[in-house]
Every structure is written in C-alpha cells, then in structure tokens.
Symmetry: C2
Subunit: 349 residues, 2 copies
C-alpha cells in the first residue's frame, strides 16, 4: 500500500493541523542524545516526598494517611483564583498586543499512597478510584470553570518533577487553544454531517481494526490516523458522553480496565516505565447546550521512538513547519497490539 | 504594572494561538530532570564526522575541502523528490482520513569547516557566507517549491544528532501548517489595516524598546510580546522584504552582525553553548503576487529556563491546552539586553 511507504501528510481533523509522515526514514543512523533511564529503585514511602501519605508539604499542610487517591491545591499553580480582579483594566490595545485575564485553579491528584507505583502497577480497584477522582474533581470544578484540563506528565523526560504517581487538574474560565480548536472543528463536522466526528471516527476504526490497540465495552484505544508522536494513542468513549460528569459505574470500570491495558502495553514496548503526557478533553462546560458534537477522549503523547533511551524530538522543522514522524501510525499500532497485557515486571521472576 | 505580575494570556497574532503567562510562578522549587551539559572538548577536525571537509559520507560521497560553507542533499531526508508519482491515487476518503502527497528535498548546510565552532564563534565574514548560503539555497529551491524551510537545531537537547555546526533546508510544494497559519493571519491583518503586521509590530517595539534585545540598520531582535519559550526571540527585517532572494549586500551584512550579537548574548546568559531551534519564515514562493502582507523573519526557540541544565518542558498542559511560561517576555528581554556582546569564552582568559 503506497500510503504506508512513501512520504505523505495526514491531517488531524480535531485541530486542523497536518503531520508529515516519512516511513522510509525509519532506518537512519542515530548519533544524537540518548536519555538516561532512571532505574533508581524507589522506596514505597519517601520521607521527603510532598505527595506521600502523612508527610508535610512546603506550605505546612499535612497529607492525610490516604488509601487510594489524595487531591490538594498546587502550592505553585500556574493559575490562581481571582486574577481577574487584579487585572480589571487589562484590554487588547491593538491587533498586535493582545492580552486577556486568566484566573483558575491548579490541583495535584496523587494516584496512590505508594511512592514507587505507576498506573499500570495499580490494582483494578485502585485504578477505578483514580477514574472516580478525575470525575469528582472535574464535576466540581466544571461548575465554576468552562475548561477543566485533567492530565498526567509521567517520567523525568516529560518534565515531571516528582516520581510519586500523580496527575494534575488545571481549571480556568477561558477555553485553551487546543480545546478551542477541537471545539471549532468538531462543531463544523457536526453541522455538516449531523453526527459527532469522534463517534464516526471510532466506528470506522472499529470496523477496520488496523489502528485499534484495544477495545472493551465502553472504550476504544486507537493510534489515530493523524498521530504525531511515535506511539501516540487516543482513548475514546464508545458512548454518547461529552464529559467526565456523565460517567456511570460501568463506564468507570471499563475505563479503569482500558487504562491498565494501555499503560501496561506501553511499558512492555521497551521494557521500561514508558514516559508520556496524557490528558482528557472534555466538552467545554456551562454553555447550556448539550454539546452533541463532542465525545469525551484522552490523548496519550509518549516521546519514545526506538528504545527506552531514544526519543523523538519535536524540534526545528516541527516547531517551524509541522510535526513529522518516521514510524507510520499503522506500524505503531501493530507494535502496541502485539505488546503483552502482562506487565514486564510481573513476568520477570 | 498589573500585566507583568498577575496570571494572564497573550495571543500570538502570527498563529492565532495563545500562551498562558504565570510570572508569580518563577520561584517554584525544581526537583525534576536536569540536562547533562556536554562539555566535551571537540577537535577542530573529526575523522569520523560526515560533515568535516574531505571526509567521506555514508553514501560514499566525499566532502570538498571547503573554506566557509558546504551544502549537500540529506542522505536520510524526511522528504524525497517525486513522491507524488509513487502516490498517484492517494485521495481523501472522507473528512476523517485525510492524506495528501508530499514531495520535496532536504539539504544539510555546514556552517564552517571547523568541527568545534558554533555561530557566535564565527568571524563576521564567515557569518556573511552563512547568510549568503541560506539566500542561494532559498533562491534555487524556491523556483521549484512553494515552501522552503531553512532552520538550525543546535545542541543535543534539541535532538541535534551532529555536533558539527550545521543547519538544514527542507523544501516542499505544500505550505506547512505553521507557514499556512502565518500566511492566513498576516493576510487578514493586511486586508484590515492595509499595512504588514510585522512591519507595524517592529515599529511599535522599536518605539517602545521594552522587549528589544538588539537592533541595527536593517534588523530588529525582539522578545515577542507573545513569546512562548523562556528566551524566545524574533529576528525581523526592518525593510520591505518578504524572502531571502531579495536580500542585498547591506542587508546580508547587517544580518550577519545581528546573528553574531544574538547568538553571543544567548551563550552569555548561562555561560554555555545555548541550545535552540531557529528558522526562517519566508513568504510562500511562486504565487505570482507581491506578498506585501509578509515580512521575512526568523524565530529562535531556545528551551533553557534557569541554568545550562534546567530547561522548560512543553508537556502535559502545554500539549493538551496551550503553551505556558513563568518568566515574562519583558524580564527575558531585559536579561538578554544586559548580556554582553563579547562571548564568554573570549573573556575567560
Ligand atoms: O535531521 P536531524 O538533525 O538528524 O534530526 C533532528 O531534526 C529533525 C528536523 O527538525 C527532526 O525531525 C528530528 O526529530 C531531530 O532529531
Ligand atoms: O507542574 P510540574 O509537574 O512541576 O511541571 C511540569 O508540568 C507543567 C504542566 O504541564 C509544565 O508547565 C512544566 O513545564 C513541567 O515541568
């Protein structure tokens, strides 16, 4: 199939941006930076960790002796409440110097009391609690803020400053650039077709199976046709839901299972704790419409390319032109499909 | 001034994307990854380097014994000529699976025969030759391709796989996502105001001086109001020129000087060889119009944040929401302004 071997571009219908695909380039030699693998064996509890149970944080607060998850406001959040009041008079002074107020709230979600665990190493009930915590925080913050961004940075090479398993929530009243782009694109598709873009997309991928990594009753994991990162995936609902607050118990349970399978497969690709940034795209909140053009979905953006130490750099051409990949989405999907669902650490002994 | 201290957003008028600015967050503690500084002393000539004069490359070609610059086709280019012929039947099969052919050419530009030099360490005449080489290659490739992307990845942390000083040119017939965005935005501004966006912008920054790092007769170096990377700069023409082929001798000379000053200042911020991706945005070629809405400009995207080893990671929130910065553009500009124009290596002894 010509599409898999020759250079071509694919368009991301959620953002309108393209990616350049150069499958022939997979075999070029690599002389550049490799990343150190942090093989430090971590303790189950670290006295100096601000996320471990019962420890005291920089601001003096103590963490409870939590059993599953624990949520607190980020002491160094990028967003703070009421910034708008401090900035009453901030207005665009032309088409060149455009600024706007931004207020919001940043929270940290500890995924487990155990310092040395990662998502694929959690039991099913613990993962179920993680999803429930995402849902609860989303639901609460969405009452006040239009845009509630739930995400996880995993691994030092993703800028994660804390090995303790955790994610974040940044909530604000404006729509972020990415949410605005996805909203615009999905709405245009809905107006044209009368159906939701991601519902149609999930159905077509399910029928074709080429890029499907895993599916269960309520969720589909697919390497999107337009994936930019080597092992990028999208985790998308099969149901008619637009945001976390709509998740019922069965969908929550099914999601916990999908998370376990996907993150286990990731770790098994290179037998390492697979770094990534992942996060949820919910429909904007509080618009008083039913948001039928949206489907709840998560993006996983992992940087590793060839091994635990060689990552894809989105640099020069990518920053100035557009994303570029060597490995095709179809090849990446077949590698992830083939990866075991038993974590490599569990098969070691 | 409230704008500098409270959280706010600024809009990039060239792309339409926003950046979240959190100046209060500058002082948060850092426990995450630090980057190794590669302090290896490199030889002037490296027998095993495919870019050094007189050496033989993987494909068997020998480099000439060049004095200033040397250009060759990338043996592992992401783009190859005539990909379109191999892909005759590639067509969008819906609004979800959108693909397009992409053919083009990738070249490597060696900036100096000396393996251990970087741009700020080159003499003025050598930098003049670098600019001339950019111009020549742009002019030749623009006869065949609409989009000619000249860029440099510098430093291992930017994925640069080769320490020998070099840049690249990727040329293709389609407009890349970034060029298309900048073209659309500049055209809309031109239609509304009857003047070029970047001409107006350069004038306002020149008048204000707050964000100006350096200027000479023909060029302005500014930390854009909407900068996303901590020490991001834009190098923009003061003249009515849209692309490299229009550069006259005075503009070329003035650009060589501006490059020397900017890259020297960068190295002096943290007394290290400052990594970055930089590249030129020319107006699209071959459209048969005079492209008065464009101005030729370069973007410098350097990742360092606090020291030679601590970089800004554009991860989680940034990938899923929008770019975020702590250091304000104004503070970054004042640091760059204050940095010496004598390279730290020259003041050491
Ligand atoms: O061409 P190089 O230097 O080997 O490769 C580098 O620059 C390219 C263009 O920005 C990127 O696509 C690669 O990810 C990066 O490693
Ligand atoms: O909040 P953290 O984990 O300290 O910081 C990390 O994630 C943030 C949100 O994606 C980024 O803005 C930072 O650059 C990154 O280092």
């Amino acid at each position: 199939m010509a599409l898999l071997e020759s250079t071509h571009r694919r368009k991301n219908p959620l953002t309108g941006r393209w990616v350049l695909v150069s499958p022939h380039r997979n075999n070029r030699p690599w002389l550049g930076a490799t990343e150190a693998v942090n093989e430090n064996v971590l303790p189950k509890h670290d006295e100096s960790c601000p996320l471990c149970p019962s420890n005291t944080r920089a601001n003096g607060d103590s963490n409870p002796d939590y059993k599953y998850t624990h949520v607190f406001r980020n002491d160094f959040g990028a967003l703070t409440p009421n910034a708008s009041e401090q900035l009453q008079s901030l207005e665009s002074d032309s088409d060149l110097f455009i600024a706007d107020e931004a207020s919001g709230e940043c929270r940290v979600i500890c995924f487990s009391p155990e310092h040395n665990k990662t998502l694929p190493e959690l039991e099913h009930d613990a993962l179920h609690e993680v999803v429930k915590t995402w849902k609860e925080n989303y639901t609460e913050l969405a009452q006040q803020y239009e845009c509630v961004q739930v995400f996880e940075n995993k691994g030092e090479i993703m800028g994660c400053s804390q090995p303790h398993p955790h994610g974040q929530v940044w909530a604000h009243s404006h729509l972020s650039t990415e949410i605005e782009a996805e909203d615009t694109q999905q709405l245009a598709y809905y107006k044209k077709h009368g159906t939701a873009m991601l519902a149609d997309y999930a159905q077509k991928e399910q029928a074709d199976q080429t890029r499907v990594v895993f599916e269960n009753e309520h969720w589909l994991v697919v390497v999107p046709f337009w994936a930019a990162w080597p092992f990028e995936t999208m985790l998308v609902t099969k149901d008619n839901i637009q945001n976390f607050s709509q998740l019922n118990d069965a969908q929550t349970d099914s999601l916990a299972q999908a998370l376990k399978v996907l993150t286990t497969k990731y770790d098994n690709v290179f037998n390492c704790s697979f770094p990534y940034s992942m996060g949820w795209h919910n429909a904007p909140a509080n618009r008083g419409s039913d948001e039928q053009h949206w489907r709840l979905h998560a993006h996983f953006y992992p940087p590793l390319l060839r091994s635990a130490t060689v990552k894809k750099h989105m640099v020069g051409y990518e920053m100035l032109g557009e994303s570029q990949r060597d490995l095709s989405a179809e090849t990446a999907a077949s590698i992830l499909k083939a990866a075991s669902t038993t974590h490599y650490k569990d098969t070691a002994g």
